[in-house]
Assembly symmetry: C2
Homo-oligomer: 209 residues x 2
DNA sequence: TTTTGTGAAGTTTTTCACAGCG
DNA sequence: CGCTGTGAAAAACTTCACAAAA
């Protein structure tokens, strides 16, 4: 079944909220209350959840633990993805220590950089290799996904190196340039300065009116 | 005029690409070529640009420098926004040094944290204050926008402190929890782990098929 | 009575397709 | 002829509104 991207995004939010509710000992929750907390219409919440079968109880709501397990299953991964972090600068280091990026669905198995000061060292128990060695290391470690935190001008080069390994399946990029990949490689990511520009744009709008 | 969010997002991308083209000395570009580079349909590019008047030349394309100036105007800000960075951890520090976040539309005028080790010091010439002092400092410095890079559990508290100043107009958040604000405060942001979950979700989909 | 699940309606965004201008 | 600008169509996404279940 094809699940729309906005729905996946909200599922992750439902999942987090449900964990919190579960920890607080709450047993049951309505679409209304989920929506209130997450800033969504109740009908949106119900529609999202309905794509995956009837999970709620009419007149009652959703059983917190049951719905939690249900969404965990939807979001679950059939394998543990091995990842490489490319670009051990400020942002890369930040991500390495970022709690919300811990998960049992993936693990960062190698770091890559071009700085001779960093290559050969290790950070958080993960050793750093030269970008040139990506094809070999990715093959050896079966790394299929990379997190890209390199400067814009280096992005495409690093991606090409990763592609050389023949294993690359996905990229999480923080680089503010589009990268070119074959159609079977997925690219998701975040462009921080775009978010900033959006904020400034709509702040301006309000300023005028 | 109301401009849709997806359009603003793409305008930022056009703007960057045009800068690059301009630096390369290119004089003219077609919607086709813009789309090819940025992964968009030519019709999408033309539609976006048409919202702001007829700027291209039929049979020719868009004049790079003219279009560049045009989009700069659209994205321009009527003021220089003063911002505070709340949470001087790994991510906050990374953003401070992040090149793509430099702009003449805003400046980071103060740092805030709760760690006594950080309060009183300064980073990149910007001094760090205690979160408790946000209301006063924000008033003194006329800070109207905050960048939130605090742990999830601290987010709402920091936002409430910022609201106390009476100046808060916008938030750029990196926190994986929704924050509650009055309707006249804009919130944009990025949830890194949501992007990761999306990537993993669609990787899984491909795995199956 | 309460709250879900869901077709149908509504809204937003993208794509098409072609007239119109250089 | 080539490429833009743009109504109209299509697709994607959200909201409504109500029947049905607990």
């Amino acid at each position: 079944m094809r699940v729309a991207e906005p729905t996946v995004e909200r599922l992750v939010q439902y999942y987090r909220f449900l964990r919190q509710l579960h920890e607080e000992g709450r047993r049951v929750i309505s679409s209304q209350d989920i929506g209130l907390t997450l800033g969504l219409k109740a009908s949106q919440v119900r529609k999202d959840l309905s794509y995956f079968g009837e999970i709620g109880k009419r007149g009652v709501g959703y059983h917190v633990e049951r719905l939690y397990d249900h969404i965990r299953n939807i979001l679950s991964s059939p394998r543990v993805w091995k990842m490489g972090l490319v670009g051990v600068g400020h942002l890369g280091t930040a991500l390495l220590g970022y709690n919300s990026l811990r998960s049992d669905k993936f693990g960062i198995e190698a770091l890559f950089d071009v700085d001779p000061q960093k290559v050969g060292t290790s950070l958080g128990g993960i050793s750093c290799h030269h970008v040139e060695d990506m094809p070999r290391i990715m093959q050896e470690k079966d790394i299929r996904v990379i997190i890209l935190t390199v400067p814009a001008h280096a992005a495409q080069y690093c991606v090409d190196k990763a592609l050389e390994s023949g294993r690359l399946r996905g990229i999480l990029t923080f680089t503010p340039v589009p990268v070119v990949v074959p159609r079977d490689v997925l690219v998701y990511g975040v462009d921080i300065s775009v978010e900033m520009e959006k904020l400034l744009f709509y702040l301006k709008q309000e300023e005028v009116s």
